[in-house]
Amino acid sequence: MADLKTLRRFSRFTGWLSPEVLAPLIVGFLILTAWELLVRITGLPPFLLPGPLLVIQTLISEWGSLWPALLITLKITGIAFLFAASSGLLIAVLFVQSRWIERSFFPYAVILQTTPIVAIAPLIIMWLRNNTFAALVVCAWIVAFFPIISNTTLGLHSVDHHLKNLFQLYGASRWQTLLYLRLPSALPYFLGGLKISGGLSLIGAVVAEFVAGTGGAASGIAYQILMSSYNLQIPRMFAALFLTTLSGVVIFIGLTFLSEALLKHWHDSVVHHEN
């Protein structure tokens, strides 16, 4: 029994070291090495392009100011994401209740999505002058909620025709059909929307922080990027940028794991075919 456990742990470990993981790691390592060499050989000044080693050094030395800033941005991202997920789901459910609701309101969801956030962020920040945090959350939410609405609406509509007939045949109520048929059918689509929306929440938060920062309002990691560039602290700017990107990757990986865990029994995107 213990042996089996060890074996499984070992196979998981080797799974992490599979070619799929190793290949991009090697590419990354080579690029960073080339970058470091380029900076050293050409003697580029750090305020133009710092080498990766200097960025890491700066990251460590500036950790005390960058980490709290990152936490603020992640908090904005997380709250906006939760709002986007719940409001997107709720609106999608409303949309499928009647074709007319969908036809009447969907265009406005599109308009909200296609309006550049950089353009309306100053307005929102001005309206919520006393609460920058809330303003930033609203901006990130606007960017993040559309993929969830459109994906989930599509999912709620793509119900197996025969299953729909079956529910009708057994006299299922609207509520039962939603709960036992439409929502489960939409789950893979909803999760797909979450994956897109997770990254967008972060981007929305960063963009809004930039806009707020130019207006003088301090906030999270994007504000630190902005300030570092103003002060020509380019290595610090790179360190903050690195933290932001890393957060985006972590969010994506987390949502991918969530999606796989929820769909592991049934969906084609997760079930591995042997042929």
Binding site: N165, L166, G171, Q176, Y180
Partner: protein, 252 residues
């Protein structure tokens, strides 16, 4: 046709779709309790339309569908060509669905669903997901889901059409066994002559364009029908007779 009063009677039923297609024209059909009737014909001759109209998944454009007891008219089950299982639910939950929709207590659903699963020979697969099942096993789950409400009429729309020949034969035999044991009434749609003859007491031959009932042939062979029946002279004579009728139906 048996003497007992029909369970269900179609009187001059027609169905015209909005685009003008006449899917079914003036169909008359009576089904007695306990009968096994097949609707046989090429695609587009209104076989599935008849099932859908009986199931109430559409209204006839003309004519009537009358039940012996109107209060029981929803008391039927439908088996589709695809197993139509919920991929996110286990075999047990799929089979128990009709009872769940009718508000049974979970414990009771579980007990009844387990019985139904055993009836179709799938005991032990209760907690598997549809993905892990073969086509034949999926169809068995679908049949278990249909029988769980103890319906007065079982509507089957080419349920074994997508299966390989061996699986089909096996399921044919098992279906006949269940029909006898459970005293079902079955209306079975197929485009396979051999399947229709092997299973049915009565084969209703349908003609296309517009979909209509062309002829009825009674299969006077005793049940249980075992494997040798499939190769008997009598079986072949029925098949030939039906093939001739189908040829006429197509030509008209």
């Amino acid at each position: 046709m048996p003497d007992s009063a029909p369970l269900l009677q179609l009187h001059q039923v027609s169905k015209v779709y909005r685009n003008g297609t006449v899917a079914l024209k003036d169909a008359n059909l009576a089904i007695a309790p306990g009968e096994f009737v097949s609707l046989l014909g090429a695609s587009g001759c209104g076989k599935s339309t008849i099932l859908r109209l009986i199931a109430g998944l559409g209204r006839p454009s003309a004519g009537s569908v009358a039940w012996d007891d109107p209060s029981h008219q929803g008391d039927l089950a439908f088996v589709f060509q695809e197993a139509a299982l919920m991929p996110w639910a286990t075999v047990l939950d799929n089979v128990g669905l009709p009872l769940k929709l009718r508000g049974y207590a979970p414990r009771k659903i579980r007990a009844i669903a387990q019985e139904a699963i055993a009836l179709v020979g799938l005991q032990g697969s209760e907690s598997t997901y549809p993905r892990q099942l073969s086509g034949g096993m999926k169809m068995r789950v679908s049949i278990a889901r249909a029988l769980i409400t103890n319906p007065r009429l079982m509507l089957m729309d080419e349920p074994f059409g997508a299966l390989d020949e061996m699986t089909r034969s096996r399921l044919n035999a098992d279906l006949l066994q269940l029909w006898q044991d459970q005293q079902w009434t079955v209306l079975f749609v197929t485009h396979n002559i051999y399947e229709a003859v092997y299973l049915s007491q009565r084969v209703v031959i349908m003609a296309p364009q517009p979909g209509r009932i062309h002829a009825e042939i009674a299969i006077d062979a005793p049940y249980p029908r075992r494997e040798p029946f499939r190769t008997s002279l009598q079986f072949n004579q029925y098949c030939r007779e039906i093939a001739e009728q189908l040829a006429i139906a197509d030509a008209v």
